[in-house]
């Protein structure tokens, strides 16, 4: 287990170096000069030059990159070009919203996806199976922003049951939960669909396994056979899909935060890209990459818990 954590940590370092380099280069080589945005339309060429010197943008790109990396290693992600706020602060203030959204969506996806898939499998070809597989197919194909807009239209504008947007209240309050429901459904639907499909096919395979017949031959109750003997085995491939979907969800927060006016990291990133605010873009990308690796590690650990055949020694 320790070996695994070390391995993932090294992976993370390599990944961060690679990603930061790519993002750095693409930001700097892409058209659009932060100085003109900061200086505004009235700025003269010498004003712009002063701004560039101030931000260190006049140095060669590689030098800028190494300066940046030196900072990161010391825990300094730099300062926003736009308002001089430290990038770490900007991220820390926005991250809880994004994390809440991602976790809530994941919960929606698992709570709907796993039982739907399992019930589909044990009642194969029933009306439940047919309708849930159809809904799953639709769920995968519907674009996020459209689903979000429709949900807002129905539940917030027409029925006025839920707020139109924002995520200001803490998630453990009623108000916070109300704010979280629609974004979480919007973001979680596609993942729920993917998890349901995987749960169904994994369960269909497991339920035919010899050890299921053995369990029944021992006199185990039908429900126990399904929800204990079969489920634990069927979950092994599903965990992989859940892990992959967490990454997918993190990506999805960008659009969902826009649709629901949530002040999360996704919005921070979009705004920063528009303003050519390089340090903020860098910081948010590194955060997402780190989360990705951490989730992978979690998946590996859960794997070893569920499947005793896996060991990381």
């Amino acid at each position: 287990m320790v070996g695994l954590i070390m391995k993932r940590f090294l992976q993370l370092l390599l990944l961060l170096v690679g990603i930061s380099f790519l993002v750095f280069m693409s930001m700097h080589l892409a058209p659009g000069d932060p100085a003109t945005i900061i200086g505004g339309p009235t700025a003269t060429e010498s004003d712009l030059q002063a701004i560039r010197t101030d931000l260190g943008l006049d140095k060669p790109v590689l030098v800028q990159y190494f300066d940046y990396i030196r900072g990161v290693v010391q825990g300094d992600l730099g300062f926003s070009f736009q308002n001089n706020q430290s990038v770490s602060e900007a991220i820390t203030s926005r991250f809880p919203q994004t994390l809440n959204l991602a976790i809530a969506s994941m919960i929606v996806a698992i709570v709907i996806g796993v039982p739907a898939g399992i019930i589909s499998a044990i009642k194969q070809n029933s009306w439940f199976d047919v309708s849930s597989t159809t809904v799953a197919l639709a769920g995968i194909s519907i674009p996020n922003f459209w689903l979000g807009a429709m949900l807002i239209l129905i539940f917030s504008v027409e029925l006025q049951w839920l707020p139109v947007g924002g995520l200001s209240a803490p998630f453990w309050t009623i108000e916070g939960m109300k704010q979280l429901i629609l974004p979480a459904i919007t973001l979680g639907t596609a993942s729920a669909a993917m998890i349901a499909r995987m749960s169904r096919s994994a369960m269909l395979e497991v339920i035919r396994a010899d050890y299921i017949r053995t369990a029944r031959a021992k006199g185990v109750k039908r429900n126990t056979v399904v929800w204990v003997h079969a489920l634990r085995n069927a979950m092994i491939p599903v965990i992989t899909v859940i892990g992959l979907n967490f990454g997918f969800l993190l990506g999805g927060t960008i659009i969902t935060e826009q649709v629901f006016a949530i002040n999360g990291v996704g919005r921070l990133m979009i705004d920063a890209i528009a303003a050519r605010d390089f340090p903020v873009v860098q910081g948010t990308v590194l955060l997402v990459a780190t989360l990705f690796v951490v989730v992978n590690l979690l998946v590996d650990i859960i794997y070893a818990f569920v499947d005793p055949r896996i060991s990381y020694d």
Partner: protein, 333 residues
Amino acid sequence: MESLLNVQNLVTSFRTADGKLPAVRGVSFSVQEGETLCIVGESGCGKSITTLSVMGLLPDNGEISEGSITFQGEELTHKKEEEMRKHRGNDISMIFQEPMTALNPVFTVGYQMMEPLHLHTKLNKKEKKSRAVELLTQVGLSDAEKVLKKYPHELSGGMRQRVMIAIALACNPSLLIADEPTTALDVTIQAQILDLIDDLKRDLGMGVVMVTHDMGVVAEVADRVMVMYAGHVVETGTVEEIFENPKHPYTKGLLASVPNVDDEEHSLEAIPGSLPNLNEKISGCRFHPRCPFATEKCKEEDPPRFQISNQHQSKCWLHEEATTNESRHEAYS
């Protein structure tokens, strides 16, 4: 004396794309306490489906369409799932062919062993554990305490099959059904497992139904033998009768196809042709397309079971001169 298990005229069918097809076509047999009945026949002749019918564990598309199965005098065919469940792993146990896949890979041996004890007995945790240890020792696994903590993948095939047997024995079953319990194991382990089942049968006085397609296994463990072909019982008799005086042409063919160590020329003389599909319509005796003795009558009329001796029956026109099953029964009753 009342039989431990009595199966009368069992017909088990499958709903398939070609309609409802019988895989077991009127099978009758009985098993007494302390007796081993071997069911033999080629792959696909209906051996497993016969035993699964007894367990009430047929595949979803299968059902018992006719006949009766009584266990200790109790009719099983119309039992509700919940009532059948209480018999399974309790007084009727079953072990299967594939020890490599028959245990659940994600639970410890201990968990899987305690399960039937938990379901069918009132033992407390400590008693269950000591019973599990006792069982594992009984099936020849030393260091039982350690084995309990292991996962199936940490055990060899032979050890897993011993664990399976221990699980099956957990609640002292009166009837043990073993469906090719040794086919997947190598020869030495195979002999050990067969000996083990035989010893346990004697010690515990269980009735055993052993499914196999290996005549060598039959010779080793059977008291009585039931030969099946295409869903029918074609011959039954004591193990001596079947080996020394086989009557049915199919049984003779099976015996001839046993590898003969002394005479390689005659080893593996398989029966020509192959088992008909479930949906194949065959008039008369279902074996006639493959039978070297088939006559016109065989092609037209399905032979009844003819009584050769008290326990010996053959479903073949060649033995018509013997009394029929029915008249024999009359003579006895």
